[in-house]
Amino acid sequence: MQSLSPATCPGCGTPAGGGDNFCEACGQELAVTVVSTGTVPVGACSNCRSPHFSDDGYCQRCGRRAPVGRDHAELVLPGIAGVTDRGVRHHRNEDALALAATHTPGGPATMAVVCDGVSSSERPDEASAAAAERAVHILTATLRAGADGEEALIAAVLGANSAVCDLAGDSANPPAATYVSGVVTSAAVSVCWVGDSRAYWLPAGPGRGARLLTRDDTVVGHLVAEGLIAEADAVAAPGAHTVTGWLGADAGTPEPHTVTIEAPGPGVLLLCSDGLWNYQPDPAGLMQLAMPKALTDLPGAAAGLLAFALDGGGRDNITIALIAIPPGQAVVTADHRSAP
């Protein structure tokens, strides 16, 4: 995991002091970006929450092996929480996660990117990490420059695609990743995706229906979208995981999809890889798992969803991002780490 504050203020170009959240010259808030890059051990033991590890990678309180690299990473910013986990069956985590919070001319914006490396490609872990990291930095920059959610999302997904293509080299089976991103501003919620990583809208009140915002780029995804097959059957269908869209050198020009909900009312935007939705594709079911906890404790709700997928078998890598609507509103509990 790394936390990135820009070296200079994007507003006036003044060098930013270490750990400053606001530019000392013009007062603009500096972007806070958190990316799980997969190289550095995370800050807390997944068993006992202790932040102290021995040099050889064991928790100094409970003795558990430290979650190394991307095996398990938890990222938290005000109004956003994410977790990415290797799961039970896979030997490494090929998912990637990036979060950011920033100020735009139109007010605060929070955003997340979830990418799932395509296992049948080469170096899928590098593909997902490159895509997520590039995307979140383009998102913050374009939103600050005044772009609206969808414009920023399109710029970011194209940038992410270039980042994955840059990894290809001479490979016959170049790195590839699926992609879902979401931006929450005070005006709207926008999502953009390629592949089968998903976005769900989970409203705060029980009266309004939770909703799947994305439509999988998979063989069965198109059938479900056209009402030809039931969602519950689709998960088990032979083509459920055969993606028809991805980022990467062998994907051609990406065809990202976008959806925007104007003034959606309070709630949470959930982005996830198929490691979660395989165990609960139904929006109402996911809402039951996440609510009402997500309204007061986003990291706790993300941890709850992860535990659900792990308890279900954890067959795939699991990545979850929860973004509060309106942006930055949800309470972040004190015992969870937050970005500097």
């Binding site: 006992c48 021995s54 050889d56 064991y58 409970c62 003795g63 558990r64 092996r65 039970v88």
Partner: protein, 432 residues
């Protein structure tokens, strides 16, 4: 000063069945010396201080040449002290008297060694036995040399009669951590438990020298071994995860010493066990901890073993080793007992069986004694512990060693029983 290099090797089966938490490991600690291999012990510059305590009670007079042999043995030990080592000789009766030098310690050189040996001729057995007082004088002398490896040799031929058991216990407590002490009983009129208690507390050895003729060689060997020590005040530190319980920490080679009760808390999750002074040598420890079980496929650091050297600059970690736990559903993995763990579990059992057998014999319970000795015979036979096997053969007639079928000998000499008693804790290593 060069410090010895320590290495730790852990031998264990780290796989545990789901839901269980007992982890066993054999920890081999080896000190490879300070790189001064081949040098003469007499040229060593390690600061050391030695006190030789000789029983001069009336019983040393007769029968036979006990006192003469004790003088010769002391002289042999004095000759083994290298130049520059501070030393003194103490005579023990119902009081403790300094024989040489008249006061404090003196640096060894050819002249002082000669003077010391000459002073031994003045020793005349007369008086009682108050071992606690002897120890306290040694303490007084050695406590002045905090910079040095401090060691004493204690020789007695009788029981501690002229002070209370409490006085002796209190004296031992005061000496703990100040110096190490090797204890020898000559003849068969001394009490194994008394000397064993002292040797255990003061991290030394205990042995019987049944025939005074063997004293000189034994004393020389003891002093030579002490001169070979390069670093003192070593502790074995055991870190355990929260919620874990240290079941036991035992030295299991070269002899069984249960250190479990000697723990001092070093940190909230770490305890220190005394390991004394080290030269170029190797020792094995059996560590058993119980941790909270985790999920199948989870991996845990069940204990971290560190060898710690405490100096004026504070504690220094010389080596570390890991005891791990991994949970599995595969019984083939989890039921495999590590052969080192199995072997030393057996060696510790031999010592316990012999101890129980001796106690039962003293209590007149011959059936239990035969059963315990038989168990020890079978275990010693199976593990190839030939020294213990032959000691056992002095107290029982072995009918079938493999099954442990034995008959108590109708008449056992005191010396044979005491030999078995003092040496029952000696172990052998795993057969290759």
């Amino acid at each position: 000063m060069n410090r010895p290099e320590f290495t730790i090797e852990v031998s264990q089966n780290e796989y545990l069945p789901a839901g269980t938490g007992e982890v066993n490991a054999i920890v081999n600690v080896t000190s490879t010396g300070s790189g001064a291999d081949g040098r003469s012990a007499m040229q060593d510059d390690t600061a050391a201080a030695e006190v030789i305590i000789i029983d001069c009670s009336g019983s040393m007079k007769a029968p036979g040449p006990k006192m003469i042999r004790a003088r010769e043995a002391t002289a042999a030990a004095i000759d083994a002290i290298r130049d520059g080592v501070a030393f003194a000789v103490v005579a023990g009766t119902h009081v403790a008297t300094q024989v040489y030098p008249s006061d404090g310690l003196i640096s060894a050189d050819p002249a002082t060694r000669q003077e010391a040996k000459f002073a031994l001729t003045r020793l005349h057995p007369d008086g009682g036995t108050a071992i606690g007082r002897w120890l306290l004088l040694a303490r007084e002398l050695l406590a002045t040399r905090e910079d040095a490896l401090r060691h004493a040799i204690l020789l007695t031929d009788g029981r501690n009669e002229h002070e209370s058991a409490e006085d002796l216990a209190a004296a031992i407590r005061r000496c703990e951590g100040v110096f190490s002490c090797d204890c020898r009983g000559v003849g068969t009129d001394w009490v194994v438990d008394e000397l064993r208690t002292i040797a255990t507390a003061l991290l030394g050895t205990v042995d019987i020298v049944p025939d005074p003729a063997g004293l000189a060689a034994d004393f020389e060997a003891m002093m030579t071994a002490s001169m070979a020590k390069e670093v003192g005040d070593i502790t074995l530190r055991v870190w355990t995860p929260e919620g874990a319980i240290v079941r036991f920490v035992k030295q299991v080679w070269p002899a069984v010493e249960d250190l479990t009760a000697r723990r001092t808390q070093a940190a909230p999750q770490a305890g220190d066990y005394p390991a004394g002074a080290w030269g170029t040598e190797s020792r094995d420890y059996h560590v058993c901890v119980t941790v909270r079980p985790a999920a199948v496929d989870d991996k845990m650091l069940a204990a971290r073993i560190s060898m710690i050297h405490t100096t004026a600059e504070g504690p220094q970690t010389l080596a570390q080793g890991k005891i791990l736990a991994k949970w599995t559903d595969d019984e083939a993995e989890s039921t495999r007992i590590n052969r080192h763990v199995a072997h030393y579990t057996g060696q510790a059992e031999i010592a316990q069986a012999i101890y129980d057998g001796i106690e039962a014999r003293k209590a007149g319970d011959d059936d239990t004694a035969a059963a315990e000795f038989g168990r020890a015979v079978a275990l010693a036979y199976a593990s190839g512990n030939q020294d213990t096997s032959s000691l056992l053969a002095n107290v029982v007639d072995v009918i079938d060693a493999s099954t442990g079928t034995v008959r108590l000998k109708p008449k056992v000499s005191d010396a044979d029983e005491m030999l078995l008693d003092t040496r029952s804790t000696r172990t052998v290593r795993v057969k290759k």
